[in-house]
Point group: C2
Chain length 345, copies 2
Amino acid sequence: MKKVTMADVAKLANVSKSTVSQYLNKRYEYMSEETRKRIARAIEELGYQPNIIARSLKQKTTMTIGVIVFNILHMLTTQVLHAIEEACQERGFHVIVSNSDDDPEKERKYIEMLRAKQVDGLIIFPTGKNADVYQKMVEERFPLVFIDRMVPGVKADAILLDNQKAAALAVEYFAERGYKRIGVVAPPPVSHIIPRMERIEGFRQALAKKGLPIVDDYFITTEIPYIQNELARLFASGRLPEALFAINDLTLMEVLYFIKGNHIKIPDELAIISIDDVPFAHVYTPTLTTIAQPTFAMGKKAAERLFLQIAKKSEHQPQIFRFSPTFIERGSAKEKNVIRKREVT
Amino acid sequence: MKKVTMADVAKLANVSKSTVSQYLNKRYEYMSEETRKRIARAIEELGYQPNIIARSLKQKTTMTIGVIVFNILHMLTTQVLHAIEEACQERGFHVIVSNSDDDPEKERKYIEMLRAKQVDGLIIFPTGKNADVYQKMVEERFPLVFIDRMVPGVKADAILLDNQKAAALAVEYFAERGYKRIGVVAPPPVSHIIPRMERIEGFRQALAKKGLPIVDDYFITTEIPYIQNELARLFASGRLPEALFAINDLTLMEVLYFIKGNHIKIPDELAIISIDDVPFAHVYTPTLTTIAQPTFAMGKKAAERLFLQIAKKSEHQPQIFRFSPTFIERGSAKEKNVIRKREVT
DNA sequence: CTTTCATACTAAATCGATTTAGTAATTATA
DNA sequence: TATAATTACTAAATCGATTTAGTATGAAAG
C-alpha cells in the first residue's frame, strides 16, 4: 500500500522521471505520441497521484493562501470568507483559515505558522496590534491584503467600508424623518480599531452636521456582554433616545434582545438602523432597515488584489479601497409621529 | 532577500545541518549548552523560519486536514466548521475548506486535490454521490469522517443528528398541545441524502404513532426557491395546516418569509418548529421554538475521530455517532386554542 | 593499557517532484 | 560532405528539511 511515485510511473512506462514530469506539465512539444500514450497508460494502471508537496518544495509556490480572521461569529467574516473561497477556487487556490480571536499574540503566531507553511499570500482581518509584523511583510514584499480593518502606517492593500458614509446614511435618514434624540451602540472605541472609530466618530459628525444634540448618555460604547446593562441603565433613567444606530450585527443582536425583553415597540417607541444586513432582516417584525456592506464584492476584491501581488511581487502599488454601503430601507425606522405613544421625560 | 535556510544557520553557527535540525526538534540530549546557544543566536540573527513544506515532504505529514462542505450558507456548516477549527488549532493542525456546492463532480475533484496536497485526513459533508471514491479512501485506510450526512455501504466514521428523534420531538410537542393538521417543509427527499429522508420519514412515522392524519398536501417537499409557490398554493386552497415543521434553517427562512408576506399570525394561526437553532430565534417575535443540533459537539467529535484515525491508521473501528437534538421551547408553538381566530377548512 | 561506553557531533541519503544541461539520432543547411 | 539544427529523450542537481549510520573524543571499566 506504499505510495506510487513518479519514479514508479517512469519505470513502468520505460522513460525517465523527467519525461513523466514534462508529460504532467503538458509540455508535449518534443514528445512522441507513442511515449505520451505509454505514460498515460502507466499512470492509469498505477493510479498515480502527484505529490503536490514535493512540487511545492521545488517551485516555491503552494497555490494556497492564508486568511486570518479576528471573529468568525461576525456575519461579515462568514460572507467575505465565502467570496474569497469562491475567487480562490476559480484559480485553483486553496484557503487556510485561522481565527485570531482578536488576540494579537495568536495573530502573530498564525502569521508565522502560515508563512512557515509557505502560503503564497495572506488576507488578514487584523487585530491592529502587530504593526511591526505587518510592516516586515510589506518590506519583504510578501503578498498581503487587509480587510475590514486597516493599520495606519502600514502601506498595504486595504479593503474597507466607507464607514463615515455608513454612519452619515443612518443619521441623515433619522434626521429627515424627524428623529432628534439618536443614540449609537458599539463596542468601546479604541485607537487601533479604525472602522469602529470611524463609525462612532462619523456618527458624531453627522449629528453635528444635522444640528442634532450630541448626548453622551446616548453613546453606548461598551463590550458586547455589558450592552444589556448599559441599555437597561439608560432605559431606567427615563431618558431613552428615539432612535438607535447599531454599528454591526453583533451589537444589533444585543439591541434586539433588549427591546424584546422590555416590550419596546419598533419603530414607534424606538427606531433602529444597523450596519450589516443580517439574513433575517426581511422576515423580522418589523422588517429591519439596515446598511449593507458589499461583503461579496469586498471579499472578491481582496482575493483579486492578493492574486495581483502574487503575480508580480515587485512593482505593486498598495491602495486603500473604500466600498460604499447600501442603505436598505425597511420598517424599523419610519416617519416619526409627533405624538409618541410612550412619551419619555 | 533570498530565503534563509537551515544550511545558512548551520554555517553561521559552525555546526552541521543535522545539529540544527536536532535543535529545532528539541532533541537536546547530546548537545552542549554552548552549541545550543550558538544555534539560537544564529537563528535569531538571520531571522530564520523553517520551511514546513520541506519538512512535510520528508515526514509525510502536513498537519493539515481538509474539510469539504456542500453548502456554506447552511448554519450548521458554519458552526461545525468553527468547532473543527478550534479543535485543530488546539493540536496545531490547519484546516483547508472547500465547497462542493452539492455537486458530486466538484466534490470528487476536491478530494483528489486535497489528497494530492497530502492532507492528513478529510472531514466531509458528503454529497452522497461518490460512493466509489469514499470507498477507495476507506480501503486505503485514509483518515475520513463524514458529518451531517452519511453514505450507506461506506464503512467510515459518521457524525449525525438523531433525525428521527428530532422529527418526533416536533410532532409530539404539537400533538400534546392539540395540533392535528401538521405539515412539513423540506427540499425534495432523495435517497442519497439520508438526514432529509430520516427527517421526513421520521415526521410521517411520528404522525402515525400519534394517530394524526397524514395529508399529502401538507408535505411541502420542493427545492428552496419553489417553497414560496407551494406554500402559496396550499394557502390559496384554504386547507392550511395548523402547524409546520421546517426541517432546517433554510426552509425555516422560507416559511418565515411566506408568513410575513401573508400576515399570518404565529402561533395562533400557524405554529412553527424548526430544526437548527437560528441565532435570531430568541429575538424574533414570537420567539422561535426550535430543535437545536449540538453543532459544536458534533464538530469537535468529528475532529477527534479524525485525529484518532491519524494517530493509529490501522486498527480503527468506524462508528456512527447519533447526536441527540435539544428541544428549545419558545413562543412559536403554544397550547392550541380550541376556537381559532381564522378558521380554515 | 586496552576495551567499552557515553557524549557531541557530522556526512550523506532521503522525501518526490522540477529543471538544467546534455546526449544521441535524425534531418536540414551551407 | 561537413556543420548546424531539430527532435526525443535522460542524468543529475536541486528544493530544504529529516534521519540514519557513523566518527571522534574523553572517561570509565576491566
